[in-house]
């Protein structure tokens, strides 16, 4: 009888354990809003900014969908392809982010040893971590998702069923992405050899990218003969045909019919998603049970995989950053060592560089329209050149939001070292700027040159694009540091949390605004160059035009840089004292 009672207690305890384990993160959020140490100004400001962004995004989406729904004689629009494309993008984004967050939450989290020592089941443990990953990801999806959800509801003149059921459907659709991402992280970490992990990873990733291109080039051609580039995969995902059963198309059509008050297809879709989620959950738990503890132990034991030799690293930094002050150089060297040895950071960088590669590859496959007049071809050149700069800068902004923005917060518990050292906040930001801008200049040069070469534009346009890109990258990086210092959070549990906080969201919104402002002179510069050939094809006139454009860009971005660093230094001063 006693044994029986004890077993019952055990099973009840197991059921409660997952909820119990989730209380610390929830209480941490609640306590951040506590007014014990004065008004939580940073949180209030973030919340206000988030609401403003959500409202702004809603207004933009509603206007855009209203414009698109205007009847045009040659163009018939249904919303399901757009919804399907958005769902596909959200699924891929969730999958990638979940795998990075899982790597950090499972293997680099400060509470993991404590949780492993607690009398809780592995199911409860993995459920807690999945919930933590979901919370960190869905915060951003929530901010972007709510305006889209409301805009589509308005555009579709949706029934009340749409507003109640579609969030459940979208959640059910994205839940497997979180679970598959978590499983991928567990599997990948277990495959890492004890030493030289990153080299093995790089090799694995290079092979994956090669396979990916091979599949796109050949697989997509088989399915859709006109498909010659990776963007066609997105077209395939959203078109519905010939893949009637493809999840994104089915869900999108369910949402559209739901808006008309028809619940039946949605019930099937939710059922299918729930089935896939259950299967994904079982797979995640099995992998966790089989691999997690062994991998965790392996990572603990093999904790000295020195990728960058100390002396070599210091010597390289001394040569590359010879012009910087000693304190600044010390911080740069520290940043390089810490970054090159942090697996989560490397993983994210490789993912973003893959996006760069995909981006350049896509550009090389875009061909100008045929059977059109010279004016249209000139407009095409302006559009493509400006698009090359804009899309490249969007990639730079993504890289910056993942690495530059969190770089101040990444000091974490070691902040006391620079707090008590004789170094000013401006020098700290200068060091971080030098480290990250150096990397971003290389990426910028690669993106803009590769994009320009892929399009086959003139060398002077490639140079002007690259110089413009680098100047705007200066604005993006300094803005990231300013926001990073202003919204610095040093009490994180694992580094993955930093990229998803509201400050980063505000940074991305401001970054997009900065890009929009910069695109005005960029478009004018290339517009004048291509559309007025009689005036600007002369070498000197072309040089003057491009130089003027670059000067205007410099003024904008140097001003942004000065203001951002000044705000960041003031915020950091408050942290440092």
């Amino acid at each position: 009888m006693e044994v029986e009672t004890s077993k019952n207690d055990q099973s009840q305890f197991r059921a409660r354990a997952a909820i119990t384990l989730l209380t610390p993160p929830v209480l941490s959020i609640k306590n951040r809003w506590s007014s014990r140490y004065g008004l939580p100004r940073k949180e209030l400001f973030s919340a206000l900014l988030t609401v403003m962004m959500t409202v702004g995004l809603y207004a933009c989406c509603t206007t855009m969908l209203r414009e698109l729904s205007q009847p045009l004689s040659h163009f018939h629009l249904t919303y399901s392809p757009i919804i399907a494309a958005l769902l596909a993008a959200m699924f891929i984004m969730t999958l990638l982010s979940a795998s990075v967050s899982a790597m950090s939450a499972l293997y680099a989290s400060k509470d993991i040893d404590f949780l492993l020592a607690s009398p809780v089941s592995e199911e409860a443990l993995v459920l807690t971590k999945v919930a933590e990953i979901t919370l960190s990801l869905f915060w951003m999806l929530f901010v972007f998702g709510i305006p889209l959800y409301l805009s589509f509801g308005e555009a579709l003149s949706a029934d009340v069923l749409y507003y109640v059921i579609s969030p459940i459907l979208v959640f059910a659709f994205l839940a497997p992405a979180v679970l598959f991402g978590t499983t991928a992280a567990i599997l990948f970490s277990s495959l890492l050899p004890a030493r030289g992990g990153r080299h093995a990873f790089a090799l694995l990733f290079a092979v994956s990218i090669g396979l990916f291109f091979a599949i796109i080039n050949n697989g997509a051609k088989l399915l859709l003969p006109s498909a010659t580039q990776s963007s066609s995969v997105l077209a395939l995902l959203s078109s519905g045909s010939p893949w009637y059963l493809l999840a994104t198309s089915s869900i999108a059509r369910s949402i559209e019919t739901l808006a008309q008050g028809n619940l039946a297809p949605t019930t099937w879709a939710i059922g299918a998603c729930a089935g896939i989620t259950t299967l994904a959950w079982v797979i995640t738990v099995v992998f966790f049970k089989k691999l997690f503890r062994r991998t965790h132990t392996k990572l603990q034991v093999s904790s000295s995989p020195l990728q960058l030799d100390s002396r070599l690293g210091r010597s390289v930094a001394r040569v590359l950053f010879a012009m910087t002050r000693r304190g600044t150089r010390a911080l740069i060297t520290k940043e390089i060592f810490a970054f090159s040895r942090e697996l989560t950071q490397t993983l994210q960088l490789v993912m973003l560089l893959t996006i760069c590669a995909l981006y350049s590859y896509n550009f090389s496959h875009i061909s100008p329209p045929t059977r059109v007049g010279v004016e249209i071809l000139q407009l095409w050149d302006v559009l493509m050149t400006a698009l090359n700069v804009l899309l490249g800068l969007m990639v730079i902004l993504s890289i910056s939001s993942r690495f530059v923005f969190p770089s101040v917060s990444l000091e974490g518990n070691s902040l006391w070292v620079i707090q008590s050292a004789p170094i000013s906040p401006r020098d700290i930001l200068r060091a971080k700027y030098t480290s990250w801008f150096s990397l971003i200049v290389i990426v910028s040069l690669a993106i803009f040159s590769a994009g320009g070469c892929a399009m086959g534009v003139e060398p002077r346009v490639i140079i002007a694009s690259a110089v413009s890109g680098i100047i705007i990258s200066h604005g993006i990086v300094t803005l990231g540091l300013g926001f990073g210092a202003r919204f610095a959070r040093f009490d994180w549990e694992h580094a993955g949390q930093l990229a998803t906080n509201t400050g980063n969201l505000a940074y991305m919104a401001t970054g997009v605004l900065l890009l929009a402002i910069n695109m005005v002179p960029v478009t004018l510069m290339f517009g004048a160059y291509y559309l007025l050939p009689s005036v600007f094809r002369d070498d000197m006139a072309a040089l003057m035009l491009l130089a003027s454009g670059v000067t205007v860009l410099s003024i904008i971005n140097i001003t942004v840089g000065r203001v951002s660093i000044s705000i960041g230094a003031r915020a950091l001063q408050r942290c440092l004292l």
Binding site: G38, S310, T333, K334, F337, V417, S420, I423
Partner: protein, 244 residues
């Protein structure tokens, strides 16, 4: 060497440090005693320029900590109570980093690093990542970092936590050596026997206020218990009294 004048620190409605004044003579070992939550760490964080006081002024080696923070910080070595150090650096890399931050002459960096590593028996682990260190080893590498730039003032918060008996012994001996060589040591501790053994001057802080300060004999005289040991006086002064 260190002078705190009417220093207070308030966190919202909570008064952590209440109008304290202290003076630490050069070349002495000063023990700062108090129960948990008395305000020791807050005071130390203000003294090292990490936290800004709500009111009052702090002078370190003649430099006002808030008017000339860089000059003041350059002469302080600080060991925090929880020595969190960049986990992805090796011990030696961390010391190089500190030497560059504190502008140790390039010709002396390797010599200084080797000296402190030997002093705290950290040579065998100098090339291992900090994340693989035990708590005691982190404490020792933090001590190495505090001394590698040869500061004039050493501020140590709860130094004995996590040290093994050998480490604790070496640590006490090194503090005596530093004081003899003219370094001013400010030590916050729970270990009353350590304070009694090492300190030239003491102060007891309770609920953010200084209860008493001076040499051990002066404190005995003030408390009216000339034969009492430090533990007895400490308990007497910091035990809550209930009025009926």
């Amino acid at each position: 060497m260190i002078k705190l004048t009417q220093v207070s620190k308030r966190f919202g409605s909570f008064l952590a440090v209440d109008n304290i004044s202290l003076s630490v003579p050069a070349g002495s070992i000063f023990a700062f005693l108090g129960i948990n939550g008395a305000g020791k760490t807050t005071t130390i964080r203000m003294m090292t320029g990490i936290t800004q006081p709500t009111s009052g002024s702090i002078t370190v080696g003649g430099f006002d900590l808030f008017r000339s923070p860089l000059e003041a910080k350059a002469i302080i070595g600080y060991v925090p109570d929880r020595p969190h150090i960049y986990p992805k650096l090796t011990g030696r890399e961390f010391l190089y980093f500190i030497c560059d931050l504190y502008r140790v002459p390039a010709s002396r960096i390797d010599h200084n690093i080797d000296r402190v590593l030997d002093e705290y028996s950290m040579r065998p682990w100098q090339d291992a990542l900090v994340e693989s260190y035990s708590h005691g080893m982190r404490q020792r590498i933090a001590m190495c970092a505090a001394m590698v730039h040869q500061p004039q003032i050493l501020v140590v918060d709860e130094p004995m936590v996590g040290l093994d008996p050998h480490g604790a012994h070496d640590f006490k001996e090194s503090l005596k050596r530093y004081a003899k060589s003219g370094v001013t040591v400010f030590l916050s501790t729970h270990s009353l026997d350590v304070a009694e053994e090492l300190a030239d001057h003491l102060a007891i802080i309770h609920k953010g206020s200084i209860l008493t300060s001076g040499t051990l004999d002066e404190i005995r005289e003030i408390s009216g218990r000339p034969s009492e040991d430090l533990e007895g006086m400490f308990l007497e002064l910091t035990t809550p009294r209930f009025e009926h």
